[in-house]
Amino acid sequence: MTEQSAIDLREVMVQCFIRAVQDNVNLVVLVGDSTSTSKIAPFQEKYPDRLINVGIAEQNLVGVAVGLSLGGYVAVTANAACFLVARANEQVKNDVCYSNTNVKLVGLNAGVSYGPLASTHHAIDDVSIMRGLGNIIILAPSDPVEAERIFEFALNYVGPVYIRMDSAKFPVLHSTDYKFELGKVDVLISGDDVSIFAMGSVVHEAYAAAQTLKADSINAEVVNVSSIRPVDRKGIIDSIKKTKNVITVEEHSLHGGLGSLICEIIAEESLVARVVRLGITQGHFAKAGPREQIRAFYKIDKNGVLENARKLLNR
């Protein structure tokens, strides 16, 4: 796929919102001064009455969404993940999760999307925070096709959902007939030598690394873990039993994210595997700077995955 065909996942999201209203989903979208962050303008032009802007007030953003859901609406919040999960954490815990309300939380520009804007704007702990809450579905789309399927799923699912979203444009990895299945892993490339588990937009890095490894006769299996809760234990176990070598890749802290999740499964199932977890180093806030350089520093770019795969396999 060429860069020209890359699409911003937020544009996909907004088109899903428009189609949902056309399909009679009783949708209301809430932003916290995040109209540009969410690229919501096309929706706002069509359905101005269905967009609520609460201003710069994240606790109120989530609380008002909960009230709207209790009043019969499918309430979706769309703001930067860093502010959503941290500032409104107790509203997410009690009013969305514990009260089990029909609210969809979209964490925009998650990971280190905001690169140079530094750690106040990075969300490298959102998955671990959400995993700590009892019942919320956690999803992370990797490309425009999957983003569309995930939003279609979420807007029709009754109950709390968190969607970890990226800010950039991404090319298509999936064919147009791709079906997103809740609680299933998506094996993008099959292979016997090493399982590369990735979450969100770094799936593209894993995918590119696997293609280069193929030229070295290393068959990497690329597993896109877009459904983080519920997670596909069987799919993950099957892949690890086959390859016995595991690399996890996430633009997220190594505390409680994808790498932790995979290791929990390995430990609980007594699987024998060599594991390398790539992500934001334990105990670190991520470096600030251009995103590509941050990814290179933490070895979560294509080259970092390549280097670690070769080292792991002594090749």
């Binding site: 008002v64 009043g71 009013d95």
Partner: protein, 275 residues
């Protein structure tokens, strides 16, 4: 939809007495509870359930029902006893209050108890959700009203004021905040811990229609609520002056009774005072 009891103020006074006796018995049996808060809010809850709230036992989940959010979730004991008095829950359940996996836990749980709209207990959450509910009524052109009962110490939470700002911005005249103004919080007087006064001015500055009433005087409280102009384009706050622990002399207006319970002779004495 209407209230199915529509009691007179005199009848509600008797209901409040019966609820208070239930609170004393339930909390002493449970061995825990927020007795001061339960007794502080009793008259307000009795007015709401026996006259003001348009809800019906035949369908407590009717989308057109009035909503009440107990933002001061620690007042759940008084809430349960009111539900029992109204016949919305079985009275025998009160003796399971706070027990393991009880239908009546120590803070509201909507999955467990009828008439609970939100799982509160962490303070400062109810008003935002009330704003969302009131907004949903406006957007879907439904006539229900949303009431949010808050404590006064709770108003120290910043999230309350985020919500207040938005309630006025969205012109939610179908939203009524009731402040149980008993002037006590867990540790001491609100004015000593973190002063709330001038409280009326604060709400006025945020764009609210502000009413002050006696929250332990059933007739006055009803008159205040029934006198609200629900088409004014402004949200309402009713600052209901109350006495924490109201009705029992040795519990009244004492911070120590925030989460104390009557034991032994105190139970008999409290019940006697409430006769």
């Amino acid at each position: 939809m209407s209230n199915e009891f529509q009691l007179t103020p005199a009848e509600i006074v008797n209901k409040a007495k019966a609820i208070r006796k239930k609170i004393i018995k339930m909390n002493s049996h449970a061995g825990q509870g927020h007795t001061g808060a339960d007794l502080s809010e009793t008259d307000i809850l009795a007015c709401l359930f026996f006259r003001i709230l348009n809800i019906q036992k035949s369908n407590l989940n009717d989308p057109g029902r009035d909503r009440l959010i107990l933002s001061k979730g620690h007042g759940i004991g008084g809430f349960y006893c009111t539900l029992a008095e109204a016949g919305y829950i079985d009275e025998s359940l009160l003796m399971t209050y706070l027990q393991f996996d009880s239908a009546l836990p120590g803070h509201p749980v909507r999955q467990k108890t009828p008439c609970v709209e939100l799982n509160t207990g962490a303070l400062g959450h109810g008003l935002s959700v009330g704003v969302g509910l009131a907004l949903s009524a406006k957007m879907s052109k439904r006539a229900f009203r949303t009431f949010v009962l808050t404590g006064d110490g709770e108003l120290q939470e910043g999230s309350v004021w985020e919500a207040a700002m938005s309630a006025a911005h969205f012109k939610l005249d179908n939203l009524v905040v009731i402040v149980d103004r008993n002037t006590l919080q867990l540790a001491d007087r609100t004015e000593i811990i973190m002063a709330l006064e001038p409280l009326q001015d604060k709400w006025k500055a945020f764009g609210f229609d502000v009413q002050v009433t006696d929250g332990n005087n059933v007739a006055k409280f009803i008159e205040t609520i029934e006198g609200l102009d629900m088409c004014s384009g402004r949200p309402h706050v009713v600052i209901a002056r109350t006495i924490k622990g109201k009705g029992v002399s040795f519990i009244e207006d004492r911070a120590a009774w925030h989460h104390k319970i009557p034991i032994g002779d105190q139970v008999t004495k409290a019940i006697e005072e409430l006769e």
